[in-house]
């Protein structure tokens, strides 16, 4: 079966306030065949996600990779906002930081980050993203199939109808 290009390319949203690091992460992701949108703040990241849902239903974000140290909204703040949102909580989030602080790393992982990369981020780090993305895609497909089964199955429909009659 031939998959359409839009089906196989994952879309990653990269967040970093430093221009050099944005350029670097964008290049690393594109080299790994991901579609990339790079923004310079957590606020802009949330705006991008919000706009997506209202206007462009076919553009999804499959993963968010964010710097930890950013002015205003930190990467950790962004992680919390994503995980507390009913619309976005299933999007995997990865945190990057130039500081190796174990308590920081643990807190991020405990609060839902899939991975924590130390900067400078390497291609070998970016390779670790694929399993998280493949897992989500498989889960989404399984959920879609289940939903389809429920609509189609005649027995279930009959059972519900029967319940109504009894009442």
């Amino acid at each position: 079966m031939v998959m359409a290009a839009s089906e196989t390319k994952f879309h990653v949203l990269a967040v970093d306030d430093t221009l050099i690091d944005r350029k670097l992460i964008e290049k690393l992701l594109k080299t790994s065949s991901y579609q990339v949108t790079a923004v310079d703040s957590g606020t802009k990241a949330l705006e991008f996600l919000g706009l997506n849902n209202n206007d462009h239903h076919d553009v999804e974000v499959n993963l968010i990779i964010t710097d930890y140290c950013m002015p205003g909204m930190t990467g950790y703040d962004l992680l919390r906002k994503i995980k507390e949102s009913s619309s976005f909580k299933d999007i995997p989030v990865v945190i990057m930081s130039s500081d190796n602080i174990p308590s920081r790393i643990n807190r991020c992982l405990e609060d839902g980050a899939e991975e924590f990369f130390l900067k400078p981020v390497q291609l070998s780090d970016v390779n670790k993203l694929r399993p998280h993305l493949m897992k989500r895609r498989t889960q989404t497909n399984v959920n879609k199939r289940k939903a389809m089964d429920e609509i189609v199955s005649p027995d279930r429909t009959r059972a519900r109808y029967n319940e109504l009659e009894v009442k």
């Binding site: 430093t18 221009l19 050099i20 690091d21 350029k23 670097l24 290049k27 690393l28 594109k30 080299t31 140290c69 130039s98 900067k119 400078p120 390497q122 291609l123």
Partner: protein, 153 residues
Amino acid sequence: MDVVNQLQRQFIDYSASLHREGFLDDQFTQLQKLQDDNSPDFVVEVASLFFEDCEKLINNMARALEQQQGVDFRQVDASVHQLKGSSSSIGAMRVKDVCVAFRSFCEAQNREGCLRCLQQVTHEYSLLKNKLQTLFRLQQQILAAGGSIPVVE
């Protein structure tokens, strides 16, 4: 072809010396490996961003340290932290190492120590800028002569 070989050898030797003398570390090699047909000027572009960043941050540090009423060491440290990050991202090892020492002096609120580090970081930045410009010039010469840029491990 002789000219190309000569230039390539010069490039390899110069690259090796920059690594040996600690100006560049493995991260710079990683950047060179990322450069491809889709982004043939990737390394030069990143280097330009780095130099711009350096100048801006060094100016910020200088201004903050000049304050006669009292130095805001957190402000200095914020700039040093940023410079440490950028230099780490490009593989500018000597600049990064000065930043590490610089942060300690900020933490200790040691103005003299900070000023010494500022001087050092300015010096290392301008040395590196010259050396990278030489390296990029060699690259250009190789390409102009019809050769390809060797990847130095």
